[in-house]
């Protein structure tokens, strides 16, 4: 069992937890992920390592409540325990040798983008961060990003905070102002990453994306997380989750992501059924 040593509500749908897992904390690097199971009947879900404290032996996860399992996870409190917590999985993000990078985070994807931005900053790279949220209430990690970025742009879809528009608008503007980047790192919803790549392709800026397909074991034994990258099948859990954005087949990844939508809706309604409406 893995103890929750700290729980913090970041916004109405996003929660941060520090989990006691000394062995994982010792090894984890930005870009890697863990798999957890809330309880005995629980499913295995992947979550990115948002931070770690090697001394305290804790690993930080940040999750958005999107379905039954994240809802159940959010019901747990400090001092409570997770059934299973395994990692670090996947390959760490490659940050070596990068001098100037645009880090783009969308929604809860910011929780994955932040440790990468932090590591780049620690290595002395110039970091420009662009973060995007649907509205002001959903903003997370603003202070953290500001602390590691020489430029920071906040975007909201409805303009309720920062600038109105999408992260691609902000990136386009920076490029138009003459900024050049060794690399763009984009982490967020598939559709966001797809459009970032569309833009960077036009400007021929190398772009790395962090993929988030359905996973079960996370160790390379099932291929549930497979993607087409450069025309070849890759397993995101062992070959990724980071890939060259120019090579990823986003449309296929988006289709595969909807595989269990019906089941997920049903499970969520059973778990979170405030109004006791009939679950079909």
């Amino acid at each position: 069992m893995y103890r929750i040593v700290k729980k913090e509500v970041l916004n109405p749908t996003v929660t941060r937890m520090d989990i006691e897992a000394p062995l994982i904390a010792k090894k984890a690097e930005p870009g890697q992920f863990i798999i957890l199971r809330v309880d005995e009947k629980g499913e295995r879900i992947p979550l990115t390592v948002a931070d770690f404290d090697r001394e305290r032996g804790t690993v930080t996860i940040i999750f958005q409540i999107v379905g039954a399992t994240t809802e159940k996870l959010n019901h747990l409190e400090e001092g409570g325990c997770l059934q299973d917590f395994v990692g670090p999985l996947g390959r760490p993000s490659e940050t070596e040798g990068l001098k100037k990078v645009a880090v783009i985070g969308g929604g809860v994807g910011c929780a994955i983008a932040y440790p990468v931005a932090k590591k780049l900053h620690q290595q002395g790279a110039e970091v420009h961060s662009i973060v995007g949220f649907r509205n002001k209430d959903l903003v997370i990690l603003e202070e953290e990003f500001r602390a590691v970025s020489s430029k920071f742009v906040m975007m909201t879809d409805d303009g309720s905070y920062g600038e109105k528009g999408l992260v691609t608008n902000a990136l386009e503007k920076l490029i138009a102002e003459g900024e050049t980047y060794d690399e763009v790192i984009a982490i967020g919803p598939l559709v966001m990453m797809k459009f970032v790549v569309k833009l960077t392709k036009e400007h021929n800026i190398k772009t790395v994306v962090s993929m988030n397909p359905i996973m079960i074991d996370g160790t390379g034994m099932c291929g549930g997380c497979r993607l087409t990258v450069g025309g070849k099948t890759k397993f995101a859990c062992v070959d990724g989750p980071d890939f060259d954005g120019f090579e990823v087949d986003f449309d296929e990844a988006m289709a595969r992501g909807t595989m269990y939508r019906e089941f997920e809706r049903h499970a969520y309604e059973e778990t979170c059924n405030l109004f006791q409406k009939e679950v079909k």
Binding site: K41, E43, I216
Partner: protein
């Protein structure tokens, strides 16, 4: 006077059209009377050919003699001298190519039901004897075992019996390897696997789950931590795909994914949080035990029609004869001498069919099997909404890629000395599917046993 009946005592089983709707065990096992009667069929040959057919060399006529006397616990003690998992092996070994193939009674009539008797004895012990095995005196040496499948469990059990402090590192959240995620409940009930693992724990084996060696700790770190030897029993869990168009459509699974969802995550049970597709028409590509398991699970999840699509003929099916028989009884349809060429999808990216081509058998290849050749122009489409690829697995590259100096074959198998299981690294041993590629439970156990002996000799020679 031996029982000279030419036929084995039948195994009581659930009726086919009942069992293909539930996940309860198909074969129900012998009663005491049936076991006593079957044991009488053994002739106690002097040269014991059956023993030579068993990869771990169980003293078969001796344990059968005990069964015939009605001393079932005595029989159990004889089996466990050689095998750590008798309740498992009695169920899943392909006896027709091992012990029973060599049985003299099989020359004229059916061989003695050795597997069924082994299973009976193990089940009898598990039901009637609660006494935990005595913990051996510790010898002060530490060994790490990577993977808790059949080879790792056997190696751990043998070393623990000699007094070693053994730690087993398992990547998944439940120990057992293919016994828990691969082989379904209806063929191998999971409480039986758990009982065997509890037995090892009682011997002092420490099982640590959620430990992915190669990520959380490397083999070199284990050696630095004071483990004097390491056994790699990480299996062959990397699924193969055919690389045909449409393989990434929704509704195409590797058998590993399908079976892991069903068996390990219990997706067939209401109340499990893990989803699974309840497809209506399913094609399973392949002809091994894994293909049979996947097909029979799909049927139990409510599929109306399930097809096995296999590129060779019935004779070449690598699955255990009993499982092929069971699959047919349960209504699985075999499309033999057929090979998929592409998977067809609808506008939403869901599987709507699979195009196949007919095959004929050509000249024998290097392995002696006749190579299937396509019949030009014979393409046809199977109307299916789910495809499960069960065409084999390779060793997972994680350990190899994180262990300096560990030599492997081109296809990923770890290279070892066959006599000892020793790898190219001192103190590091390997066995089971990680070395051979996908094979059988009992071969993996044999390899675990060999390595345990070699590890003991290695550590004692240093001491």
């Amino acid at each position: 006077m031996p029982n000279m009946s030419l036929k084995k005592n039948e195994m009581p089983s659930q009726a086919p059209d009942v069992r293909n709707k539930n996940f309860l065990e198909v074969a129900l096992g012998y009663t005491e009377e049936q076991a006593l009667d079957e044991a009488q069929r053994c002739l106690h040959c002097k040269n014991k050919p059956c023993v030579a057919g068993c990869p771990v060399g169980i003293h078969i006529p001796d344990f059968i003699a005990k069964v015939a006397e009605g001393d079932f616990e005595g029989a159990y003690q004889i089996i466990t001298q050689s095998s750590s998992l008798p309740a498992v092996c009695g169920r899943v070994c392909p006896q027709e190519t091992q012990c029973e193939q060599k049985c003299v009674r099989g020359i004229k009539g059916e061989p003695v039901g050795i597997g069924r008797l082994e299973r009976f004895v193990a089940d009898w012990h598990n039901k009637n004897v609660c006494e935990a095995p005595r913990k051996p005196a510790p010898n002060g040496h530490k060994v790490a075992v990577i993977g808790s499948g059949p080879s790792g469990l056997t190696c751990a059990g043998d070393l623990a019996k000699k007094g070693y402090a053994v730690t087993v590192f398992e990547a998944l959240h439940t120990a057992g390897g293919v016994l828990v995620y691969g082989i379904p409940e209806f063929r191998l009930p999971k409480d039986i696997v758990q009982k065997e693992i509890d037995g090892l724990k009682a011997l002092g084996v420490d099982v640590q789950t959620n430990m992915v060696i190669g990520r959380v700790l490397s083999i070199d770190e284990l050696l630095e931590q004071g483990y004097e030897a390491v056994f790699i029993g990480s299996g062959a869990g990397l699924p193969r795909f055919m690389n045909i168009p449409g393989e990434n459509l929704k509704g195409v699974y590797s058998a590993n994914e399908f079976l892991t969802r069903v068996n390990l995550m219990k997706a067939y049970q209401p109340g499990s949080d893990t989803p699974i597709e309840h497809a209506k028409r399913v094609a399973v590509v392949g002809g091994g035990n894994v293909a049979m398991d996947a097909a029979r699970c799909a049927k139990r999840l409510g599929a109306e029609e399930v097809f096995i699509v296999y590129r060779r003929s019935e004779k070449e099916l690598p699955a255990r004869a009993e499982e092929v028989e069971h699959a047919k009884e349960e209504g699985i349809v075999f499309h033999l001498l057929n090979n998929p060429t592409q998977i067809l999808g609808d506008e939403n990216g869901n599987v709507k069919g699979m195009e196949c081509i007919r095959m004929e058998l050509g000249e024998p290849d290097a392995s002696g099997r006749r190579r299937p050749v396509e019949v030009p122009g014979s393409e046809f489409t199977l109307d299916v909404d789910c495809v499960i690829m069960a065409i084999g697995t390779s060793p997972n590259p994680l350990i190899k890629s994180t262990t300096q100096g560990l030599e492997t074959q081109k296809w990923g198998g770890i290279i070892v000395n066959e006599e000892t299981g020793l790898t190219s690294r001192e103190g590091v041993y390997a066995g089971g599917d990680a070395v051979t590629g996908a094979a059988t439970v009992i071969l993996a156990m044999g390899a675990g046993k060999t390595a345990a002996t070699a590890i003991d000799e290695y550590i004692q020679s240093k001491a």
